[in-house]
Symmetry: none
Subunit: 197 residues, 4 copies
DNA sequence: GATGAATGAGTCTTCATTCAT
DNA sequence: AATGAATGAAGACTCATTCAT
């Protein structure tokens, strides 16, 4: 989906697959360094393939984008699923948010990927978006069910807060700041313990 | 400051002033729509003046930028000063943040202006930045002094949280969401009332 | 001639004369530094007058050019006339050529002025050209009359050789080289002493 | 070398070669007419190709320049080598200088190529420069060894004299003049026959 | 399928030149 | 007369995109 390659029912050529992989790696690097406006030629050059090859695999900039960051989002989802096990549910939420900051720090393109997944309506991101929402949702659900946090925020809301805070990333040491801000935010989500209990 | 025009002591030509104004309006529109990378030619075109005129008035992209958003930031500062009067200090903080959201909603370019004022180190924004920080700082100071909010956040931190949340703006109705998120954040800032009192 | 100012029979305003002078000085500096392609706005800026004023005084680039270098050429002419007195005529020729090199070294624009005066057919330079030719001609004449140099070169030829050698000017120490080359050239002009005498 | 094209081991596309050739021809014409500052767009236009194509083949103005004039300089070198055979060594020198004038006359851009090769320090011209110097040097060497000319001039000096004289080229019939001037110069180089011999 | 050449539209930027004040 | 604002025509350069090989 999104790639221009692969007529149904035909086994992909080995070099084709290899090129696709090289392109994805190159694109991640280039987009990380130069932002999402970076030149496609730079991507092809770094991948060591012709620009035509890039276009064959990813007919639009968006298609490339999507493919590049799909796996990153998958990691976030996995992380949310792990965090949902055991532990205090509010703490799990906080830990997961911290982990998100860590990933944004490592993979500079991550934010670029998250924003459309959370906010956009582009059908290309629909699936990614749905999976992410589900994972975050179940994380929140536990805390809500335990009466520990307010129940009027959606998973998107939480994601947006997290993403927004991360836009701060530039100064050295930004991670510390963002973690602090997120902690404040999580504190704001808490409900007082039920005095009846 | 920043404009290449106006040797001291000479009355500006009428059309010059008119053009400057047209350029500022056009620039606000264009930057709002296309982001800060938007083409300067597009600005000139929309202003209905020659590209040379744009360059005469604003020799660099940054100079134009700065001029466009200076007044907007001034309004935020004024708003903060007003909010500092009377009322409950935490409430004042919350109200000011709400007002910020309102301004971001009205002037789509506002965010573009705030980000460099808060994060950047460009000397052009140094003054703007300082004024903003002072205004927000005194707003927070009152709440801290009253023992109502935590004292370990800087004015920049608060601004960053606000700005970050606003990056969310795209979907219809985003303002409601952002206001909600900011309220959560302010709740997170609160300290429990001093039991000794 | 060449200037657009001065309707006949009207005394020039004092500031007009002052501006003209400032422009000439500025033009010399700017053309020296930036070559003959230098921007007229730079000239006006350095002169501290408006670009419009420059145009009023010198309606074309060439007119400015001509005015700037007129006096320089005059100096060369004067030099040639002095050199024609006394001394050995071949030596006088050589000395004058050396002096030319010195002037080219001092006034970087000099070459730019000489070339059109010697080669061009622009009527603006006709007079300059004539005066120069006359001066150099009489210098050569003496040596020819004394049977000391060949008689088949014109004053233009000599000037061209000198100018050509000077085009070399770039490297540090070029003057030494050019003087050497001119000495060789003068040696080539010599006739053997008349054995009959 | 200097071109941005041709990864090793791939046969160049036919139209690519054709375009390269068209560009070289166009560039020679345009630089001849308009000097080395001439517009690259004019070159592309005259070659009948897009400006992008020009940039692909020659990523910098200098690269184009170099490519255009490389072959011309090669011819001069070959000529010098031929002239070094047989004949009277002073006469060989003179003949070669005459040939240079002829080439300058034919290929108006030649001077533009020679100047940086002789005077410049641009690494692009280093090789060209070296080859030319060697060729001229061995031509002079023979005459010096035979005690026929002064030994205190470098090959560069000779080249500069030749180039300088040619800057004269404008008027009709300039070749005759330049040949005359060069003959005078060569005469100036001569030493008197050794009376001891 | 892969390659990279060709193309031209679009940007930025500088200036000569004209004209309103 | 002087000024400098306005204008737009170049020119350099970059890239997205298409296509010949």
């Amino acid at each position: 989906m999104g790639e221009g390659v692969q007529k149904a029912g035909r086994r992909p050529r080995a070099d084709s697959l290899r090129n696709r992989e090289k392109l994805l790696l190159a694109a991640r690097d280039v987009f990380s360094a130069g932002g999402p406006e970076a030149s496609l030629e730079a991507v092809a050059r770094r991948a060591g393939v012709g620009i035509g090859t890039l276009y064959r695999h990813f007919p639009t900039r968006e298609a490339l984008f999507q493919a590049v960051y799909l796996r990153d989002v998958d990691q976030l989802v996995a992380l949310a699923q792990q965090a949902a096990d055991g532990r205090d549910p509010v703490e799990a939420l906080r830990q997961w948010l911290h982990a998100c900051v860590g990933m944004v720090a490592t993979k500079k393109g991550m934010l670029t990927a998250l924003a459309p997944s959370v906010q956009g309506s582009d059908p290309l991101f629909a699936d990614t978006s749905r999976r992410l929402r589900a994972a975050v949702g179940s994380l929140m659900e536990r805390a809500v069910a335990a009466g520990r946090i307010r129940s009027d925020l959606t998973p998107e809301d939480l994601m947006r807060a997290m993403i927004g805070m991360c836009y701060t990333r530039e100064q050295p040491g930004w991670q510390t700041t963002v973690v602090l801000l997120l902690d404040v935010f999580v504190d704001g989500l808490r409900l007082p313990p039920d005095p009846a209990a």
